[in-house]
Symmetry: C2
Subunit: 329 residues, 2 copies
């Protein structure tokens, strides 16, 4: 706790009135603002692998999941809280090396500093399996939050950045890890070869679209917004269900990330891009805060017996089932 407290104290914000050290942290919210709260649980073997992912990437990804939820609401990050369960071996200091825990915390806090969000509290416990539950709190002007439920037939469907890059990176990481396993002399899988770093970055160090969410919320342009954490096919289905609408995707318009395929762009997940809808009259720029914005389809009326999401390409129209990340219940 002392190690985290010292490291976290370097990063603070006006909204954080009391940080680590008491029974609760205290946050201030400006008059007219609401507080957005989200929690995301990451478990070894399910959301990350200790033998595949460098510790700083696990820390980065843990925080990115929460920040991306704030981005999807158009909320300004206020404070993060971290509950960590770790096997003792990951905390102990090995000879001549830094403990796993330090790498994890560095990755998390580096991204936190980039978004000026202080680590304000949390909990620590011994656990047979490594796990991290991240809680993000953010502020958004009352009535200005971006919701999943406002899409209307006729709205245009947009996405930030590109899709499938994170899934392509995961495929590469898996191949790399398997190659290492066959290497007779053990080499740490945490050392990523320099020439592969760029291709792995969308998977290991995804950038949540916080600035883009804030931009959309401040201008009240989007009718519905969601972050693509589970894959476009799955998250678009969520947006349609909450809005009571259906959607058509133009396959040719999809911004497919480097190294990715159409299938990975549709179902891959973990890209943490924003998917949003806006009326045709809304003037959506080609880029927001340095990230491209692409028009990928439209919202249509939901009709009984017709698929909720369809993909339109030169061959015609086909139903697009949600094939992204499977939550097990």
């Amino acid at each position: 706790v002392a190690r985290i407290r010292a490291r976290a104290a370097q990063n603070t914000s006006a909204s954080l009135r009391l940080g680590i050290g008491d029974d609760c942290a205290l946050l201030g919210v400006e008059p007219g603002e609401e507080l957005a709260v989200t929690t995301d649980l990451s478990i070894a073997g399910r959301h990350f692998r200790l033998d595949w992912h460098p510790p700083d990437a696990i820390g980065h990804r843990t925080l990115a999941r929460g920040l991306s939820d704030l981005a999807a609401m158009g909320a300004r990050p206020v404070a993060a809280f971290l509950s960590l369960g770790l096997p003792p071996a990951l905390v102990r200091i090995p000879k001549g090396r830094k403990p796993w825990f330090d790498g994890f915390l560095n990755g998390l806090l580096k991204l936190a500093e980039l978004h000026r969000v202080p680590l304000a509290g949390g909990d620590l416990a011994e656990s047979p399996v490594a796990l991290a539950d991240i809680v993000l709190t953010g502020a958004v002007a009352r009535g200005k939050a971006l919701l999943r439920s406002g899409a209307r037939p006729g709205d245009i469907l947009y996405v930030t950045g590109s899709l499938g890059g994170a899934a392509a990176g995961l495929v590469l990481l898996k191949e790399l890890a398997e190659a290492f396993e066959q290497t007779p002399i053990h080499r740490s899988p945490w050392r990523i070869p320099d020439r592969l770093k760029a291709a792995l970055a969308p998977h290991l160090y995804p950038m949540p679209r916080v600035a883009q969410g804030l931009w959309l919320a401040s201008r009240s342009l989007a009718t519905a917004t969601i972050d693509i954490s589970d894959g476009l096919s799955t998250d678009l289905a969520h947006l349609c269900r909450e809005s009571g609408v259906a959607a058509e995707i133009d396959a040719a318009a999809l911004p497919i990330g480097p190294g990715a395929t159409r299938a990975l762009a549709l179902d891959g997940g973990e890209d943490y891009e924003l998917l949003f809808t806006a009326p045709p009259a809304a003037r959506i720029p080609r880029g927001i805060a340095g990230v491209p914005v692409t028009r990928i389809g439209r919202i249509v009326r939901s009709r009984k017996g017709r698929p909720q999401v369809v993909l339109v390409d030169a061959q015609g129209t086909q139903a697009l089932a949600p094939r992204g990340w499977e939550h097990f219940w």
Copy 2:
């Protein structure tokens, strides 16, 4: 998720503007209020045992830990968030019986309803070990929060309720579980014999002192407050460290719970009573909201080379080392 959403929707509050179903929940805070946030991680084998604790008691205890942190700040509960990691067997519906998960959720939501705190979000994942991370948010008037850091030499030390009852209940539960193991026909350890229910209640169903914390905060009577989750000896040491003071406990004054001993009252933990300090001139009643309040000692100046906490009894004065719950790092 649908099961939790339907069950949680029955309990809401004016401060919860948007609950389960979007990327984040949205909370409203009154002008002049601050938001208190706390997270508590419970892991099978460390904080509870699936073969000892009834599922509803695990749910109750999970929420009680978080509510008790709010109580220690004098905050009014606003909303709870739950991240759950469960082995599939605990979610599946067994023949003719309710799944473990339903019992867990019932225990948690029953206590939530008692304190009018809605379950506003969270996360679910498959996990090889059962775990629950609870996040509690609460509101407190700016500058009125009860902190650990305000105790001054001369202040009187008070405790709500009685101490050691939870630890005594745990001893009994352990004996009971071991007896069951020797029973040839398997009987569910979740069925607690009626005649033992009262003795086990302080351990299985502790009542967080939310009303008492609110009372203390609204009257600005306490100079420092902490909840006794880790044991009096350990939590008093925390309070002394954060306040930069030392303390003396009158052994004869300790309100020892039914079935407990002095050792369990000092080091047992999980009683979730409030430990607080107030100046001698403050008029502290003998009970707050139906719970007794007992004067158990005083705050003194911290001196180098002298123990931070001492126990005074007929035999004299002895150092009281923190021997409560051990956080492993």
